[in-house]
Symmetry: C2
Subunit: 408 residues, 2 copies
């Protein structure tokens, strides 16, 4: 049984973390370090944006099957920085490796912040040295790392679970993620990029890679705040095996636990979308295949018209069908079913492709369902068996304000 507990990335055996102020940002913590006692099997998901930040390029090129540490800075994304940016990302790895007395290839690197500015490496070097001397275990250190990478988020995207695997070993999984936070005006702030670190003391082999991809596809890759994918998105899973159990690659209990952690993180990122007041969950079923189900979900959660209608609790469900129509996926308009849920309300909208109602009273029911912190759209395409779920948020005045004033 998967059990959520109060914990973070240092909850699994053998992980230490910290966060320090290097000076890249004016005041707040801006440099984080995570280290495992022993080399951990590493599984990494990267942004598929063709413009990749320097740290992403470096990590992808090295593609190390194990990592022992990860260094992360905020305040500067080290993106669109050309050859100099690549050198800076390499230097971050080298400095951390020297401080921790490990091979540079064993150090992962992530950056988030403004695009198109060179890193101040003097400050970053200083920060890494400082962090290396201050690593620790426990909630205090989880929080320091969290602060260093997620200062602008309004909700902490952190969780931990424990689960007893099939062979009897108790293992822990901890995760932290930085997503699009709501932003105080007139500050230089982070944006959009999601950086995630997941630690576990379970043992995994390189064969686990496709399963990690599957979990990412079902969770992180189904979150959308604005459809704009960052140059820096990176999600690292480190499994150091220090719980001493058997290899968990094929253990369904481990999969269940990891998926629970990643689903929680994904939902929290959506809830904390820039300016968001509501979580939108979209469940598409009856699709021809999984790819089509995902495509329909994404078209709906990315539609500015759907998102702003939900912000205003405007019962304009035609926009959901318009978004479906634009997704290009196959559906049977004569059989489509659409339900909107929120709070205690569950309102059928379309049945067999036709509006269930025309009267004002029913319109009011849709409005009431939409007037909740969490609104769920269920859409049955009536052409197959495949299903997908995704998460997004409403489009609000604050989204516009935040993004019109980002770098100023």
């Amino acid at each position: 049984m998967v059990e959520f507990i109060d914990g973070g990335v240092t909850t699994p055996e053998g992980f230490k973390a910290t966060g320090v102020h290097s000076g890249v940002k004016y005041r707040s913590l801006d440099l984080g370090l995570l280290r495992s006692e022993v080399p951990a099997s590493a599984f990494v998901g990267y942004t598929s944006n063709k413009v990749k930040a320097a740290p992403v390029q470096v990590m992808m090129r090295e593609n190390s099957p194990t990592l022992t540490a990860v260094v992360i800075n905020s305040g500067n994304a080290n993106a669109l920085t050309g050859r100099r940016g690549i050198e800076d990302a390499m230097t971050m790895k080298e400095v951390a490796a020297a401080e921790l007395n490990i091979d540079p290839v064993q150090v992962g690197v992530m950056s988030t912040g403004l695009i198109g500015r060179f890193m101040d490496m003097h400050k970053v070097r200083f920060g890494i040295s400082k962090a290396a001397g201050e690593l620790g275990v426990g909630r205090k250190y989880d929080n320091l790392l969290a602060e260093a990478i997620m200062t602008t988020d309004t909700i902490k995207k952190e969780c931990a679970v424990r689960v007893r695997l099939s062979d009897g070993t108790m293992v822990y999984i901890g995760a932290i993620s930085k997503g699009s936070g709501m932003i105080a005006p007139h500050m230089k702030v982070l944006h959009g990029t999601t950086l995630s670190l997941v630690t576990t003391d379970a043992k995994l082999s390189p064969a686990f890679r496709p399963k990690w991809q599957q979990i990412l596809d079902d969770t992180m890759n189904m979150v959308s705040v604005d459809g704009d994918q960052s140059t820096n998105d990176t999600c690292i899973l480190m499994a150091n095996g220090m719980a001493k159990g058997a290899c968990a690659d094929d253990d369904p209990l481990f999969m269940e636990a990891l998926k629970a952690v990643m689903t929680k993180i994904a939902r929290t990122i959506a809830i904390d979308g820039e300016g968001a007041t509501k979580l939108i969950e979209v469940n598409v079923r009856g699709a021809k295949d999984e790819t089509e189900a995902r495509k329909a979900v994404k078209q709906i959660i990315n539609s500015p018209l759907v998102k702003s209608a939900i912000f205003g609790s405007d019962p304009n469900y035609g926009r959901i069908m318009m978004a479906l129509g634009n997704s290009g996926v196959e559906f049977n308009l004569e059989e489509v079913r659409l339900v909107i849920k929120g709070g205690e309300m569950e309102v059928p909208i379309l049945d067999a492709g036709a509006p269930v109602f025309q009267e004002e009273r029913s319109v009011e029911a849709v409005r009431m369902a939409m007037d909740n912190k969490e609104v769920t759209i269920v859409l049955d395409l009536a052409v197959g068996e495949a299903e997908a779920t995704g998460w997004g948020c409403d489009l609000t005045y604050d989204y516009v304000r935040i993004n019109a004033e980002y770098s100023t």
Copy 2:
């Protein structure tokens, strides 16, 4: 030489128009009628949204090579209305045909307004009969038609040109379009759908069809206000040949004139995007092929992050590159060039893939360029010769307000 003149859809020889109040809307004109003295060669572009409104389905099924009249209602989109909607659209054609004493297949039909409500056919029938008795020629009648289809637009999307063709014939082209208008709160209003009527007294044969598609692809199909394509978009070109010249299919002067008209309409739709304060023109060059150039343009003009940055004159050009990276098109990051223009300013941002500047003074120049009613982004992908241009608008508080309150 193409000359813009004060005119509209009744400027070309042989076209009459009007607009009346049928009662579908509370007060304003809501039903328009256009008629040609003789059957006109008809070329129609439809929404590619898979959820098509009833009038679109009916028009596509009949696919008539000639049209003599077009009937248009606003206030109700007749979309998501199932079999009954199809019957209603057919009835609109039949009633108009009977009134005008022509074959129903000679009548085009378009609707715009709320989705998912049945038409009040009693009112619509009344409106069509009334309109048929009040057709006329001249600016007064252009305006009545305009009012009936575009009451919520803040800018009239109408123009006319004259051009002397290669064979010496003087021909006229008139156009009117209804796009996404800014909306007074708490009213039931139109949305998003673009309906366009283009009239000309030039003579065209059915062979002109691919050229019409090319012009639509270069103009109307390169406009995006929010990336959400309507269920109702329809663009009808009627050529009645009453100028008595030779067939203009292959006359480059006619193509130039028609493209000038459609470009003007397209730009005006973007300028009048919901809540818009600025026109954004995106020109992508150096692309591998035209499809890729268009794809890159659309990804950039649809990016909420780019749109909100331009609203706030926020010099966050990294977002343009992020959008390019997400478009999936090929580019050479080592050679990419990016320039932002606005007013008198023309600011190079990236040259050979690297930032041209780092200093605050230059950031200020980008801000000044963005602080104009019209902002142009020029992006050279450095992998080929193809080029495309598109138009969009900024994402503003008013966009959110309008769309959060649309149907309420």
